[in-house]
């Protein structure tokens, strides 16, 4: 029997793509879908997905849970759990386009929720922590239910299939976002599961990732000390948790986070100024188990921006393009040229050097 | 130039330097064949002092060598700082033995003089006593 997603660790190769408007201009999903087409061969039809930021302005204060249910029984069970902790503001189907390329679809729901204040007071935690805990509980504990997106004013859309098909399936041309990320998957030993497709999300953090990290179990075993459960056994999942842990729980900046995940080599650190040396040394000393090695190019999306990062040896391709207020990132230049045919400025960031793009304050 | 120096604090008195020397200068490739049932005539000798401290003595390659000045046959000479002996010229008068203040020139099995030539003329190329010393008690290095 072929093991299911989560029962075995799945290495996979991939394609990633992203576009963001620094002015906060919202663009529909047409472009990002098209960008995945020339990178078709980087996926094998076993997973594709997108994350979009700024798509639910009218529900901006509520957590938008995108959930897969195997059946209505699971759905009922899960909703009952949610109701214990959250006010359900809206509970709806995510509209999809029926197409032969996408089959075996689960029930796909979108639920806007608001944490109950009484619960927060009782548990003495903030609302984000509550979301994380409950999502972990559902994903690890409730068989047949899987929350694949849980941030505010953002959402992930993913399925088993080629990414361009997945985009059409979810009718992404109908959504408008100031920031889009996309992923096409090439898992090597799984039948593919909808939940296992990327992006992987936690709160408003979404990760699309191309690579196979060699530090996986070191990262996993560390991060699991802090309440995260790596149920999917994928790199993307653990990187998302690392990002959440460092950015949200430890309060590191994006740059500092990048210096933990793709830490500069000691020889590089030695050449830095005394203060930088102290900082980098401190971060490596403090979070040694969160260093990610092996090939990866990741795009971390969050409300108001994104960060692209390569492993420190740059073992995976990743190029960045810039035109006017738009920044494009992709595994291949061809993808960028689809999104912006006339683009002039394209470069390949060095390994371990984060590319951080932020939308202008107040524009999202 | 590089010379042999002795670190007596590490000499174990094992006498292996003498055997390695005799072997190195035997011209043979097998130590058993070279030394078996033979009296050895090494160019380095292990001495023991009154406290039982041992150390190896070989030619110091003096900068102003009495042996060279005393050689009646002109067989001893200094070449690039190394005091060498031309065994073909030596007639075995042993005047060099009589004048060497360190007792480093000795008679060989054929009755002519021999001395440490830093293994420059045998197949070792570098002093065999140094290479074979198990404890680094003889070193071959440059010193002022």
């Amino acid at each position: 029997m072929i093991p299911l997603e989560g029962q075995v660790r799945i290495p996979s190769g991939c394609a990633v793509s992203a576009m963001i408007s620094k002015d906060g201009k919202r663009l529909n999903g047409e472009s990002i879908i098209e960008s995945m087409v020339p990178m078709h061969d980087r996926s094998n039809g076993l997973g594709g997905g997108f994350a979009a930021y700024g798509i639910y302005p009218e529900y901006r204060d509520f957590y938008a849970f995108h959930i897969f249910f195997n059946d209505t029984q699971c759905q009922k069970e899960c909703m009952n759990l949610l109701k214990e902790y959250f006010e359900i503001v809206q509970d709806e189907h995510i509209k999809v386009r029926k197409m032969p390329q996408i089959t075996d679809e689960p029930i796909i729901r979108r639920v806007f929720v608001s944490p109950m204040q009484s619960v927060l007071r009782h548990l003495q935690i903030d609302e984000k922590e509550l979301v994380v805990r409950i999502v972990n509980r559902i994903n690890a504990g409730l068989n047949g239910s899987y929350v694949f997106s849980c941030g505010k004013n953002m959402g992930a859309f993913k399925a088993v299939g080629f990414p361009e098909d997945v985009g059409r399936y979810y009718r992404l041309e109908e959504y408008e976002a100031y920031s889009w990320t996309a992923h096409g998957r090439y898992p090597t030993n799984t039948p593919g599961w909808w939940g296992g497709a990327h992006p992987f999300c936690m709160l408003d953090y979404s990760i699309v990732h191309n690579g196979e990290i060699s530090s996986y179990d070191a990262n996993r075993r560390f991060i699991e000390m802090y309440g995260y459960k790596c149920t999917l056994q994928t790199d993307t999942e653990v990187i998302t948790y690392i990002a959440d842990y460092l950015l949200r729980r430890q309060g590191l900046t994006l740059e500092e986070t990048a210096s933990v995940i793709a830490a500069p080599f000691w020889t590089t650190i030695d050449s830095k100024s005394e203060q930088e040396k102290n900082t980098y040394t401190y971060l490596r000393n403090m979070f040694p188990s969160l260093l990610v090695t092996g090939p990866f190019s990741i795009i971390l999306g969050f409300n108001g921006g994104l960060m692209a990062l390569n492993d420190r040896l740059k073992l995976r391709s990743m190029v960045v393009g810039e035109q006017d207020d738009m920044v494009y990132i992709a595994s291949e230049e061809a993808a960028i040229r689809v999104m912006a045919p006339d683009i002039q400025k394209i470069w390949s960031p060095a390994g371990g050097e984060p590319v951080i793009v932020k939308v202008k304050e107040g524009a999202f | 130039m590089k010379r042999i120096f002795v670190k007596e604090e590490w000499c174990l008195g094992c006498h292996l330097c003498e055997y390695n020397c005799a072997f190195a200068n035997s011209g043979l490739t097998d130590m058993v064949k070279a030394l078996k049932d033979k009296k050895i005539y090494p160019r380095v000798r292990v001495e023991t002092d009154e406290d039982g401290i041992t150390y190896a003595v070989s030619c110091r390659h003096c900068t102003n060598p009495l042996c060279v000045k005393s050689c009646i046959a002109g067989a001893l000479s200094i070449q690039d700082g190394v005091i060498q002996i031309d065994h073909n010229k030596c007639v075995g008068c042993l005047t060099c033995v009589l004048v060497c203040p360190h007792g480093a020139v000795v008679e060989d099995e054929k009755g002519i003089a021999q001395k440490c030539e830093l293994c420059m003329k045998n197949s070792c190329g570098a002093p065999a006593c140094v290479a074979g010393c198990p404890n680094g008690a003889i070193v071959y290095e440059e010193r002022e």
């Binding site: 530090s215 900082t279 | 055997y19 130590m31």
Partner: protein, 498 residues
């Protein structure tokens, strides 16, 4: 009762050139030259098979072989067992042994295999790409903090910084020689790692290696004073030793001579007996007090290591230590070496380091306190692959001693307790101590560690890992072969093929 000697000296007289180096170099006086017959003879009953004569014989005329004179075959009562009974019947004494447990108990390292990258991600070539082995040992705080200007407050509790995840573990001055200590100290300095004084104090000549020294405080408190504590880079409280869990140490008076007695601060020639427990530590809370006493005495500048033997409930013990204020836990497995231990204890008490390490690492993670302490494991780390496996199981660094002794010349004859080490390591006899020239000893140690570092890098590169941090606790990189479900479960690794 007389036995046929355990070893036979086989001398190939056709090769012997009568250089007599065997005779001169045998402290056990096995060989002697017969002037009349012009032949070398031997008294094999004294031979411990240390191979000194074999090693120095310039013509390879010697070999030492195990005697084939056996008692009648008996799978239950082995020769060894029977001879030990005879010896005890004769002497009425406790049998003594040295170095690590030689019995054929499982070596889990040898049943664990390491992963390598193929196709889906690339192996990394350490000759072409940076490959990092630097490790910090010490407590990591729960959370970062920032200065008023928003910059990171980069102060951390005291840490040890190692260029590679290996240190020389405790061997006391007394159990080993001055020159052995000199070699270890110099090598540690050169390598940018640490050596450990063991429980015999620190010879005044070696204070200058302080920044690469771990000073040990054991139950006998030999040589412990304020300057000593302050001399090192870390302080280790020795609660136990893998080779002899549950008992103290015993340095025979014959080894407590000269500078050894001075360094230990005990009268010359007196037996140095360290008690089984620390008499001020009868429980975990007492340990906490000692940890903080030592920190107090050294103004919290130095990390404190607590070293324990791997015993059955090691995970719980480690959990206690992780909460005691200690910065580093050192776990010593039952195959670890010793300068002298009762045979029965060495061979029957304690558990393998692999299982202990896996259990401790898991327990500390389960309890969320893995960051409270670093884990150092020892007790027969024999090679770079053992190191890699230990790190992948969860250790921050490894302690090696037997391998270090081997590098210095030890031939594992397991006769340290006789004090007549022919290799100048486990002896205080000046003529024997002299045989270890630290100039050579330190270089060999440096070579060994350099070689291991290269191998560690090769293995890491193969796994696609370019920094040792990413290997630590990365158990996915390990697979077991020929192990039971239970063993795999404890080790936290899959079986090969899974």
């Amino acid at each position: 009762m007389n036995f046929y000697p355990e070893f036979e000296v086989v001398r190939n007289d056709s090769r012997c050139v009568r250089c007599r180096v065997c005779e001169r170099q045998c402290a056990n006086e096995v060989h002697w030259y017969d002037e009349d017959g012009k032949i070398l003879l031997s008294d094999e009953s004294k031979c411990v098979n240390c191979q000194r004569c074999v090693s120095l014989c310039p013509t390879r005329a010697l070999k030492i072989v195990k005697s084939d004179c056996r008692l009648r075959e008996n799978a239950n009562y082995s020769d060894q067992t029977i001879k030990e009974i005879y010896r005890q019947a004769e002497t009425g004494g406790v049998l003594l042994s040295s170095m690590g447990n030689p019995n054929p108990l499982p070596v889990y390292w040898d049943k664990i295999l390491i992963n390598a990258s193929q196709v889906t991600n690339p192996p990394i070539d350490p000759l072409r790409e940076p490959m990092e082995t630097k490790v910090f040992l010490g407590k990591k705080p729960e959370k970062i903090s920032r200065n008023e200007d928003g910059t990171l407050n980069t102060e951390l509790p005291p840490q040890l910084s190692l260029t590679m995840p290996v240190m020389f573990s405790a061997m006391s001055y007394g159990s080993i020689s001055y020159n052995a200590h000199a070699s270890l100290a110099r090598a540690a300095e050169k390598l940018g790692i640490y050596y450990n004084t063991g429980e015999g104090g620190l010879h005044e000549d070696f204070y200058r290696f302080g920044k690469n020294t771990i000073v040990q405080v054991a139950s006998g408190r030999f040589g412990v004073h304020k300057d000593y504590l302050e001399a090192g880079a870390a302080i280790e409280i020795k609660m136990g030793q893998g080779a002899k869990p549950g008992i103290g140490g015993h340095l025979p008076g014959t080894k407590a001579v000269g500078d050894v007695s001075k360094t230990r601060m005990i009268p010359e020639g007196s037996d140095a007996i360290s008690p089984a427990p620390h008499h001020d530590i009868y429980s975990i809370e007492d340990l906490r007090q000692l940890v903080f006493s030592l920190k107090e005495a050294t103004e919290y500048r130095l990390p404190v290591i607590v070293k324990v033997a791997a015993v059955h409930n090691i995970a719980a013990i480690a959990s206690g230590i992780a909460r005691s204020g200690a910065d580093i836990i050192a776990i010593d497995g039952f195959r670890g070496g010793t300068g002298a231990a009762p045979t029965r204890i060495r061979d029957n008490v304690g558990i393998p380091i692999e299982l202990a390490l896996a259990a401790v690492d898991k327990r500390l993670r389960d309890e969320g306190i893995r960051n409270n302490v670093s884990i150092v494991c020892g007790g027969s780390i024999r090679s770079a692959s053992d190191v890699v496996k230990a790190i992948a199981l969860g250790a921050d660094a490894c302690y090696v001693a037997t391998a270090a002794c081997l590098a210095m010349g030890c031939h594992l004859c397991r006769s340290c307790h006789t004090g007549k080490c022919n290799w100048g390591i486990a002896t205080q006899r000046p003529d024997l101590v002299k045989r270890l020239n630290p100039e050579i000893g330190y270089k060999r140690l440096v070579n060994l560690m350099d070689a291991w570092r290269h191998e560690i890098k090769e293995l890491m590169g193969g796994m696609g890992i370019n920094s040792i941090e990413a290997l630590r606790g990365n158990r996915l990189m390990l697979r077991g072969v020929g192990l039971t479900e239970k063993e795999l479960e404890i080790l936290g690794i899959g079986h090969a093929g899974e």
